[in-house]
Amino acid sequence: MLDLYSPGHSPLHRMRPSLKMGALMVGATLLMINQSLPITVAAALAILALYPLAQLTLKQAFAQVRPLLWIFVLFFAVQWYFSGLTLATYVVLRLAALILLASLVTLTTRSSDMIDTMTRALRLLRPLGVNPAKVSLAISLALRFIPVLAQIMTEVREAQKARGLERSVIAVAMPMAIRAIKMADDISDAIDSRGYRS
């Protein structure tokens, strides 16, 4: 399945997902509270050092921050101009450290394991009226729908291309949504036909 997971056997891979998520929350909070540049530099380097430990390459680490390079540059420039070099470095490094830390969890945990952890955690919310079985059905259905919708979108765009409308959001989204809702009605019947108790 589509997943950002990077296979491996490191201690981080084997760590329980709930522990990893807990550690991420603590780490992110500490990073946000801390105001000192030297500590931020140390933290960023420490997080970066965890990458090889988790059998990940520095190239993978860079790939995590690359989509945000533009905003790093922008923030750095604005901060430098208004507040000086120290603050500019601090802000951008903190952001990079935060993203690298969070990505570490994502890269070393299978989505399916994360989903299992989430559904288990949902049991705690039962008294609030949350039904974990329904949530896991919704998750599976969404994962089932994404490739089907992507397929429908490709088909609709091809059809609209013939009319020169493939970049018109409305000419793509409207027929796509109508087909999607028809599919949803059928699939809801199929779920009921197959003995599902809602």
């Binding site: 533009w70 830390l101 994502t106 919704a138 969404a142 959001v169 989204a173 809702i181």
Partner: protein, 186 residues
Amino acid sequence: MDTALKQGFATKDIVYIALFAALTAALGLMPPIHFAGAALPPITAQSLGVMLAGAVLGSKRGGLALLLFIALVAVGLPLLSGGRGGFGVLVGTSGGFLLAWPFCAALIGWLIERDSDASAVKTGIYVAIGGIALMYAAGIPWMAFIGKLGLTKSLTIMVAYIPGDLVKVVLATIIARGLRRAFPTL
């Protein structure tokens, strides 16, 4: 609505929630519109999913659809435009916008549910309140905080996105009204 709450969600409600979460993901595959060179992130069709979920499904199902979407992003599926996902994006500069999505959809749905005979213009205003006003109100302070930018500077950056977001409001309104006409029992 009262009985729906007591009985919990029917199969169809669960399917629609999953569908609009998936639709938001699929809209991320529409080619983004680049502007201002590469200085600013491109406009994507994805927040259209937020507006549609609220306007079509209503507050409860629409909000849950986006909550499901964000949860799937959080667990590491690359469902955001450009194939991004994972916790990293949620703690990044646009995290505030993303985490606000469920609330934006719920607010749009709530406003429209209260006024089901609303004209197209009024519907558009409701979509804009949830899809622009609330989204910016959550996203801009987050961006200001994370980037230590201050509100004014963050606001200046976001001005570039308002025209694109207004276009999305119009699109969402047209599509939502069309869908409600095509499927009155939705």
